[in-house]
């Protein structure tokens, strides 16, 4: 089965091609599209399970499947299209195909009435194919195909409704932010190849420590460059601004790409190249603190957002920060663990919000009303109309807030504990832990606020809409239920000792992560009193946050957008997302465009080179010619004078010259 791993990629790829063809020839054949689109994913998922079973039975050694030689340039640089199946990629494989299948299924309902249905599934299938290339690639360049490919699909899907300028803008922004990161990845590859002589993950893990000095400048640079790529892909400071905008895409896309899978690729990459990172302690600190800061700041922004998807988007950014905090401390398994549980509950949240939006949208449509279907200030009391959605989103909220025994609690707790332990010897990690803790509080708060604004209180969208609010069809709620279950029990993957588990996932991943051990102090997880204190603290924080969130939101009636007064002070800053977008626009984008147009194009190209350089030469030549022409004034006397002058000069030269 493992050798057939390429099938998991081929199915969605074929799906994309077929759906693409349908999109062009017969876009109305939605039944066929659903069959192909979902079928491809289910096929992939089936193969994935088969592989998983085989890997489960195996001893943890990686299997490499050579597809073909990609770039056979020289003996020293010969890049093959090789897929690598090991425990890490199997986890990712399962998450991607599993959650992917659910989201595809959900999309069948969600996108039913969209004219671009076939195109949508083509993109989505293509995305899955690329995502699988990313996680299955056995070398950096192969992963890079997927890495950029998912960026492409993300671009296409964010701008799916391209006729709205803002959507196209958001897609472009996402791709560009990713490209900034890709600069880092590319540079890291160059450095790695010239230093280590290979780009295979295997080879890197084995040879990098031999060549690259521990904590040396090269390895630190390489790690930081790789991390730059991760900040782009996984929306970390400073490149996080694209992710909230990416919510312009259809909601299942947000769930799949911008919550469950693609954005976690950065975390995956750090784990994959863990050896490099573990050789560069400074880079690890940077990863951890960046993650913690992102977790914190994104959470603060989420506090004041009113768009339901925006809240979730910032929440995603924040949760991704946790994952980086985890891998930055060297708790590789914790990072992956959170990645997995987050995939469950965040996908659930997004799909739930999609369900809400779907309902709002349909209600507006039915009532011939126009309004923002995503503004929570226009929702409220939806629990009555949408009980399933309400319950499932509630589960997810508890999970993300870190209420035991739901999945999110275990993974988040693991991360915070790891940071705390590292913090014992390194203040940076302690600060990171503190930030993480605060972020946890805020997470609980904004999630409670979201639930309260959406499902509690009375409906604020208008009386005409209310009768039209309905629960989503089964094809949509079905996947929600599955995700809900996973959000509840996901924690068992990696239960800690005090809960009767044995860090199963962490041990399972050891064949992958153990390569980093020689360069990393082993994380001695706290035991006994400390552990209980930490766990207790985390639970307290989650509960306090939830309660606060509920209370502050429901304390007084939520104002509709029209009635909301302009925010001031800190609230304004938060609502304006710290004005980072505006800052980037003013500092980077605007000046670059201005510089390119005024200085480079009009200044250098048109004026300096063309008009002064080339045109100037031509004008000077013409001018000289004109002068000469004036001199030729028709007077014989002048001609004769010139002649005689010539004679004099010539005679001087001949007579004066040495023979």
């Amino acid at each position: 089965m493992t050798s057939l791993v390429w099938l998991t990629i081929l199915f969605p790829l074929l799906g994309a091609v077929i759906n693409g063809a349908i999109a062009i020839r017969r876009p109305e054949a939605k039944g066929l599209v659903s069959l192909v689109g979902v079928g491809a994913l289910l096929g992939s998922f089936a193969v994935a399970i088969g592989i998983f079973l085989e890997v489960l039975a195996g001893d943890g050694t990686a299997t490499r499947v050579l597809l073909w030689q990609w770039m056979p340039v020289t003996e020293r640089l010969s890049i093959d299209l090789t897929l690598q199946v090991d425990r890490l990629s199997t986890v990712m494989l399962l998450v991607i195909t599993g959650v992917g299948s659910l989201i595809h299924l959900f999309s069948v309902g969600y996108m039913k009435s969209d004219p671009g249905y076939a195109r949508y599934f083509a993109y989505l299938n293509l995305f899955v194919a690329f995502m699988l290339v990313l996680v299955l690639g056995a070398s950096l360049p192969v992963s890079f195909i997927g890495w950029e490919g998912v960026g492409l699909c993300s671009y296409l899907l964010i701008g799916f409704w391209y006729e709205v300028d803002a959507n196209s803008d958001a897609g472009k922004k996402a791709f560009l932010a990713n490209r900034i990161g890709d600069f880092g990845v590319l540079m890291a590859m160059f450095l790695l190849w010239w230093h280590v002589g290979t780009l295979d993950y295997d080879g890197l893990a084995r040879q990098a420590p031999e060549v690259l000095a521990y904590a040396g400048a090269p390895v630190t640079l390489i790690a930081l460059l790789l991390f730059l790529g991760c900040t782009g892909k996984s929306a970390q400071i400073p490149l996080f601004t694209w992710l909230p905008d990416a919510m312009a895409g259809p909601t299942p896309v947000s769930a799949l790409i911008h919550a469950a899978t693609m954005v976690t690729a950065g975390v995956f990459l750090v784990v994959r190249t863990g050896v490099i990172f573990s050789l560069a302690p400074v880079a690890m600190e940077v990863v951890a603190i960046t993650g913690a800061l992102t977790a914190f700041f994104a959470a603060t922004i989420a506090l004041r957002q009113n768009d339901i998807k925006k809240v979730l988007a910032y929440s995603t950014v924040s949760q991704l920060g946790y994952m980086f905090l985890a891998v930055g401390t060297g708790a590789w398994a914790a990072g992956i663990f959170h990645l997995v549980t987050h995939a469950f509950f965040k996908a659930l949240l997004f799909l739930g919000s999609g369900s809400v939006i779907h309902a709002m949208h349909h209600a507006q449509h039915a009532a011939h009303a126009h309004g923002d279907a995503q503004d929570m200030r226009l929702m409220g009391g939806l629990r009555r109309a949408m009980p399933w959605t309400f319950v499932l989103m509630g589960i997810a909220t508890l999970a993300i807030a870190g209420v035991p025994p739901l999945a999110g609690f275990w993974s988040k707790d693991e991360i915070l504990a790891a940071a705390f332990v590292r913090g014992g010897g390194n203040t940076i990690y302690l600060v990171a832990w503190g930030l993480g803790l605060l972020a946890a509080l805020m997470t609980a708060f904004y999630m409670a606020r979201l639930m309260a604004m959406t499902f509690f209180g009375r409906f604020r969208g208008g009386d005409t809409l209310e009768p039209h609010l309905h629960e989503a069809p089964a094809v949509m709620t079905g996947p929600l239920v599955v995700l809900g279950l996973l959000s509840i029990v996901g924690g068992v993957l990696n239960l800690p000792g005090f809960a009767g588990g044995s860090h199963y996932l962490a041990h399972w991943l050891e064949p992958v992560t153990d390569a980093t051990l020689p360069y990393l102090d082993r994380l001695e997880m706290p035991h006994g009193m400390t552990e209980l204190l930490l766990v207790g603290g985390a639970i307290t924080i989650a509960l306090v946050g939830l309660a606060l969130g509920m209370w502050t939101t429901l304390r007084r009636p939520v104002l509709t957008p029209a009635a909301t007064p302009a925010a001031t002070g800190l609230a304004r800053v938060l609502e304006g997302k710290y004005f980072i977008d505006e800052l980037y626009q003013k500092v980077f984008v605007g000046p670059t465009v201005w510089f390119s147009r005024r200085v480079l194009w009009q200044g250098i190209d048109q004026f300096l080179v063309d008009r002064m350089g080339v045109g100037g030469t031509a004008r000077v030549a013409k001018g000289l010619g004109w002068l000469g022409s004036r001199l030729q004034n028709g007077h014989v006397a002048l001609y004769l004078t010139l002649f005689v002058a010539g004679v004099v000069l010539l005679m001087r030269a001949v007579i004066g010259g040495a023979p």
């Binding site: 010619g625 002048l638 004679v647 010539l650 001949v654």
Partner: protein, 499 residues
């Protein structure tokens, strides 16, 4: 065949082409003196004159075929391949100009068949100039050519421009002749000889004297004038513009070619010992000529004037080949002159057909849209422009390569680079002509309706244009010929020089 040039018979034999052409010119003159009233007379005389060129070419061919060589020293005229080569080219120019003038004269209202006689006599002069082995012959040839061309320039008496051009050419030309003559006198004084080879032997054997140096300088002045090198060029644009167009062609092609042939011979045979003296002069002349010619050509609107300045620039290029002072350089002169002459004839031929009687000179902008009306004329002129530019695929390009190769073989870099810079400037005035003809729309409906292209002229131009193209791709015959003949120039003089 060895010819004893000191005997009258031998001399007559050696001068056979000149004698044939002169004799025929006299015959034609007789005919013309009695039939010179109508256009038909003019055409008749024209046809008759062409026979003369053919006969002279045959005579030259015979001399070349029998391999006529002088017994001992070449007295008066040279008997070598270089002379035959130059004769062929010059006779060809004369004939071609006669063809181009045919009917053209009538159209311009010039009915005076003596024109053809003058043309023939001028050709005789050119031949003597180019073939002279002796300063006296050379001077006579030069003057014969010049006087005839003075008349031809001012031939269109009804046009003031023609008369003015004639006067200017005459005054400055006579002035220049004075210098040349003085140069001859000084050389005679310094060496006691008129014969080029003897002068060369004398000069190589003795220390340079002031007199000899001054003689060389004045001689150079005289020739610089004839080839229109800057600063002795000022007459050329005015005269070229004012003269009847076929005569302009004759001047631009023939006079320049003859002067270069003579200069090449003089420098090779009489002044090999003074090479250090004349090389820098030639270099400076070449540079200045190339730059001034090309730059001023940029500013021209009139086709004829533009071609005049371009002709000046080409004289500059040719000076570079002479500078090389090698067989390769002489071959380059021959090849480049062939290319230049063929192209010039064709260009002026087309230009002549476009001119209207009594109208002002043709401007570049007058050519706009020519391709639509007269595609072949436009294509022909385009080929000419490209050849003058030295564009691959044309004969001009082959000439340019040889031209550049000659000084490079001597290790000289600056001159070829200057030549290339000149060539770079020249695209600035050749290209607009092509642009106007092929890419610009025609200005008025009536434009290009008055073009008259008599069949003989058409054929002559077509042959030229085809030759430009064919020789541009397959120049072997001309190259072999030129290389062979060029070598002879020095080889015959060498034994005497080294005696």
């Amino acid at each position: 065949m060895l010819i004893d040039l000191s005997s009258p018979g031998g001399a007559a034999l050696a001068l056979l082409p000149e004698i044939v052409l002169t004799g025929w010119a006299l015959v034609v003159l007789l005919v013309a003196s009695w039939r010179h009233r109508t256009a038909a007379d003019s055409r008749y005389v024209g046809i008759l004159s062409i026979v003369g060129y053919v006969l002279a070419v045959m005579a030259t061919g015979w001399l070349a075929w029998v391999g006529a060589r002088p017994e001992g020293l070449p007295l008066m005229v040279a008997l070598d391949g270089f002379r035959y080569a130059s004769h062929t080219l010059l006779l060809w120019i004369g004939g071609a100009v006669a063809v181009l003038s045919w009917r053209w004269l009538e159209r311009q209202g010039i009915i005076a068949p003596e024109y053809y006689v003058l043309l023939m006599l001028a050709t005789v002069g050119m031949m003597l100039l180019a073939g002279a082995a002796d300063m006296i012959t050379m001077f006579l040839g030069l003057e014969l050519m010049s006087i005839a061309v003075y008349v031809l320039t001012g031939y269109d008496r009804t046009r003031r421009a023609s008369a003015e051009a004639g006067l200017k050419y005459f005054l400055i030309g006579a002035f220049a002749s004075g210098f040349l003559l003085y140069g001859i006198a000084l050389l005679y004084g310094a060496t006691g000889h008129f014969n080029l080879v003897l002068i060369g032997a004398q000069l190589s054997a003795t220390e340079p004297t002031l007199m000899a140096k001054a003689g060389l300088g004045l001689l150079l002045v005289g020739f610089a004038f004839k080839v229109a090198a800057v600063p002795f060029h000022a007459w050329a644009p005015d005269v070229y513009e004012g003269a009847p167009t076929p005569v302009t062609a004759f001047m631009a092609a023939g006079v320049k070619a003859a002067a270069f042939f003579a200069l090449a011979r003089i420098l090779a045979e009489a002044f090999p010992g003074y090479v250090e003296l004349w090389r820098p002069v030639l270099a400076v002349l070449a540079v200045v000529t190339i730059l001034v010619g090309n730059l001023v050509a940029l500013a021209q609107q009139s086709m004829k004037r533009m071609l005049a300045y371009s002709a000046i620039a080409h004289a500059g290029y040719l000076l570079i080949a002479l500078w090389a002072h090698s067989d390769r350089g002489t071959a380059a002169v021959l090849i480049y002159l062939h290319a230049y002459v063929i192209t010039t004839i064709a260009a002026f031929g087309i230009l002549a057909s476009i001119e209207r009687a009594g109208a002002r000179t043709v401007l570049i902008s007058d050519l706009e849209g020519l391709y639509a009306a007269r595609p072949f004329a436009a294509m022909g002129l385009s080929v000419c422009m490209l050849s003058l530019l030295g564009f691959p695929g044309t004969f001009g390009f082959i000439g340019k390569w040889f031209l550049v190769a000659a000084p490079l073989a001597e290790g000289e870099l600056l001159l070829p680079i200057i030549a290339m810079i000149g060539s770079g400037i020249s695209i600035g005035y050749y290209l607009p002509v092509i642009l106007a003809m092929t890419l610009k729309p025609v200005r008025t409906r009536s434009a290009h309706q008055t073009i008259r292209f008599p069949v003989p002229a058409k054929i002559a131009v077509a042959i030229c244009v085809l030759a430009i193209l064919v020789l541009g791709v397959w120049p072997n015959a001309v190259l072999d010929f030129a290389t062979q003949e060029a070598v002879q120039l020095r080889r015959l003089a060498m034994p005497i020089l080294t005696r």
